[in-house]
């Protein structure tokens, strides 16, 4: 089961702007296995979204992947029925031509993505059906049954889906994501739908090509809490029925606890802790993770007049990162002389539980 799908190795993404260079992602590692959900959490600007875009090789200008690799273990999609001839290629997504044929097949066809802003993520002049059809006609092939002249068994070949088939797929997908009256809604324009419905449509587009992975970049941030729960339910249901991996990016700890098997905590472009969801919430090791968890208000435990816990200080200026561990100016467990000079390394702190903190490097020595 734990067969890797995506391996991000020492990824670095820099934005070269007038004021200097911003290291948006700074030596980030992550492995996503097939069919698994990985949650990435962190504050705004910590590099979560940039990492997601790097996977699809579409880091926005003036950003650039400066080093590292993103390996994609690509199974051939052809002939999924015969089982035996499935081959797995390893592709480094960062090395592909950003407008080339290969990455365009991966985008949408093999790795789908949904975005933070459902209100403006659908091109306003096209109907829902047209948008789904556009994706489907790019990526999805339809089996053709053909009876051979000599042999009686059917040979399967593939061709692009036709417009009518695409429309049927669109209706079917809309039904799957829980849009009422999909037969009518398929001709609706984005402005005729609510925010929650638009996010459902985004999911329908992303899943219409049967991807092996879905990147969800804060998919519920812009939605009401009740709608959020519905969207998360849909994503979970569809994942169960399709063995699809999900990279779930959010700053909402509650959401990620519900969705992910494994969680990576990011701070200033670096992964600071990684663990199974239970371990992370019950035994957080990195001081940053602990502070994050403490800042969640808990019902009934608050004494009157007590202030909500927050992380001291503020996010450092990205042009002047502190030396040593980037979290040290805000860290409650700051060790003078060590944390501000030594860059912490990735250390195992438990069973499948890793952190990047000098507290544990010391213990390991």
């Amino acid at each position: 089961m734990s067969e890797p799908l995506i391996e991000i190795k020492d990824l670095r993404v820099e934005f070269n702007v007038r004021e200097g260079i911003v290291k948006a992602v700074d030596g980030f590692n992550l492995t996503i296995n097939r069919g698994e959900t990985v949650g990435v959490i962190g504050e705004s600007g910590c590099g979560k979204s940039v990492t997601a875009r790097a996977i699809l090789n579409m880091v926005p200008k003036p950003g650039k992947v400066t080093s590292g690799e993103i390996l994609y273990y690509r199974r051939s999609k052809e002939n999924p029925s015969d089982g035996q001839s499935r081959t797995t290629d390893v592709l480094d997504l960062t090395k592909l031509d950003p407008d080339g044929e290969t990455i365009r097949q991966v985008r949408g066809g093999e790795i789908g993505m949904i975005f933070q802003e459902p209100m403006s993520s659908l091109t306003p002049v096209y109907s829902v059906g047209t948008l789904i059809n556009e994706a489907v006609s790019l990526h999805r092939l339809s089996p053709v049954k053909r009876v051979g002249a000599q042999i009686t068994e059917t040979i399967q070949t593939h061709r692009r889906v036709t417009k009518a088939e695409g429309r049927q797929i669109a209706i079917e997908m809309l039904r799957k994501v829980g849009i009422p009256k999909p037969n009518e809604r398929v001709d609706s324009y984005p402005h005729q739908l609510s925010g929650g419905q638009r996010q459902r449509v985004m999911i329908a587009i992303a899943l219409s090509c049967e991807p092996v992975m879905l990147i969800a970049d804060e998919p519920t941030t812009a939605l009401d809490v009740s709608i959020e729960a519905q969207i998360l339910d849909i994503m979970r249901e569809l994942q169960e029925s399709s063995d699809m991996a999900i990279l779930f990016i959010t700053h909402n700890l509650g959401v990620v606890a519900n969705m992910a098997h494994e969680i990576v905590v990011m701070y200033m472009g670096k992964a600071v802790e990684r663990a199974k969801v239970q371990d992370l919430f019950y035994q957080p090791q990195h001081p940053y993770t602990r502070s994050l968890l403490q800042s969640i208000p808990k019902l009934g435990q608050k004494k009157s007049g007590e202030r909500l816990a927050s992380i001291a200080g503020s996010v450092p200026d990205p042009f002047h990162l502190p030396p040593g561990c980037v979290f040290h100016p805000r860290c409650p467990a700051f060790m003078p002389g060590r944390c501000d000079t030594i860059t912490p390394q990735w250390t195992q702190v438990g069973d499948d539980h890793w952190a990047s903190c000098l507290l544990y490097e010391e213990a390991g020595k």
Binding site: Q105, V106, R107, S120, L122, V125, L138, H191
Partner: protein, 328 residues
């Protein structure tokens, strides 16, 4: 939809009547009329015989009748296709304009096509390759085009044509072809003259349109739906043209209707005067100066009519290309 169009047409008619009335009033505001000016001129030349004929003229042109009567007569005739008679040329306005309308439209359409065919690709290039060398060059030239008045450019080109190229650059035809019937030589002669006004109008027109296209597209390229389209696996070209330009171009449709269409008759007035082109504008300006009121009034009403029709057409076109717009 049909309901909407009918309603807009009714408004347009009402508006046209109001415009015609106001312009009629304004043309009448200066003291005296065409005849008093004419007599002044004749008197200056020492010709006294005209004074005796003045009353005949006054009756012939209806200038002796009260203002409202004159207006009513003109409007009623106008609606029947009779635009009145030009005092200056002593010929029907319809004939005078008719001669020039063809050239005006040929010239304006030629410019319009050149401007749009160049400005949109240039604007798209400029936005997609923002801050590249190509963008910098296009931007610089655009600003020169916007900043330089057309008549100044016309004078410069005229000077260049006469001194360096040693060709006659004014008018639409050379001397020998002006009155000649249509022939192959006349067409070539026309094309030889047409490029100068076309270039001038193009340079001044392209600049603004390129900048608008560039700005709109830059705004659109930053929209999440563009990124979403790319994440769906569309090729860069398809993302830009089908998802970004398709949205960014909508405001230009309004410009096409409200500026370009009326501009067909009225545009490039100063350039036409400098280059002595037989378009409508020089005639219009002249008629205002000489209080040739039926000529002036007809021009104003025609310009207004084109503006109203242009606005209606652009609204319909916009509703057709953008499903968010509903005509109610």
């Amino acid at each position: 939809m049909l309901n909407y169009i009918v309603r807009r047409l009714v408004y347009a008619v009402i508006l046209l009547v109001l415009i015609s009335f106001v312009s009629f009033v304004i043309i009448n505001l200066p003291p005296g009329d065409f005849l008093t000016q004419k007599i002044e001129q004749l008197r200056a030349r020492g010709d006294r015989s005209a004074e005796s004929r003045v009353e005949d003229y006054r009756v012939r042109y209806g200038l002796d009748k009260p203002f409202m009567t004159r207006y009513a007569t003109w409007v009623v005739n106008f609606a029947q296709g009779d635009f009145g008679e030009s005092f200056e040329y002593e010929r029907p306005v319809k004939e005078l304009l008719g001669e020039r309308v063809t050239f005006t439209i040929v010239l304006a359409l030629a410019t319009l096509i050149v401007v749009w065919a160049l400005a949109i690709p240039l604007g798209v290039y400029s936005a997609v390759k923002q801050y590249s060398l190509g963008d910098q060059i296009i931007t610089s030239i655009s600003f020169i085009g916007i900043g330089m008045p057309g008549f100044l450019l016309a004078l410069l080109i005229l000077y260049y044509a006469v001194t360096v190229l040693n060709i006659e650059a004014t008018g639409l035809f050379s001397q020998q072809y002006v009155e000649a019937p249509w022939s192959w030589g006349r067409v070539i002669d026309l094309l030889n003259h047409l490029w100068i006004p076309a270039i001038i109008s193009a340079i001044t027109g392209i600049g603004g349109l390129t900048r608008i296209m560039r700005g709109n597209l830059l705004d659109t390229l930053g929209q999440p739906f563009v990124e979403a389209a790319r994440a769906r696996g569309l090729a860069n070209r398809a993302v830009i043209w089908k998802h970004a330009v398709r949205i960014a171009i909508n405001p230009l449709i309004v410009i096409l209707g409200s500026e370009a269409l009326p501009g067909i008759l009225g545009g490039g007035g100063l350039v036409s005067i400098v280059l002595n082109l037989p378009t409508i504008t020089p005639l219009f300006v002249d008629s205002l100066k000489k209080l040739d009121m039926y000529m002036a009034g007809t021009c104003i009403v025609l310009f207004s009519l084109l503006l109203l029709v242009g606005n209606l057409l652009s609204d319909l076109a916009l509703a057709w290309v953008d499903p968010r717009i509903r005509l109610e």
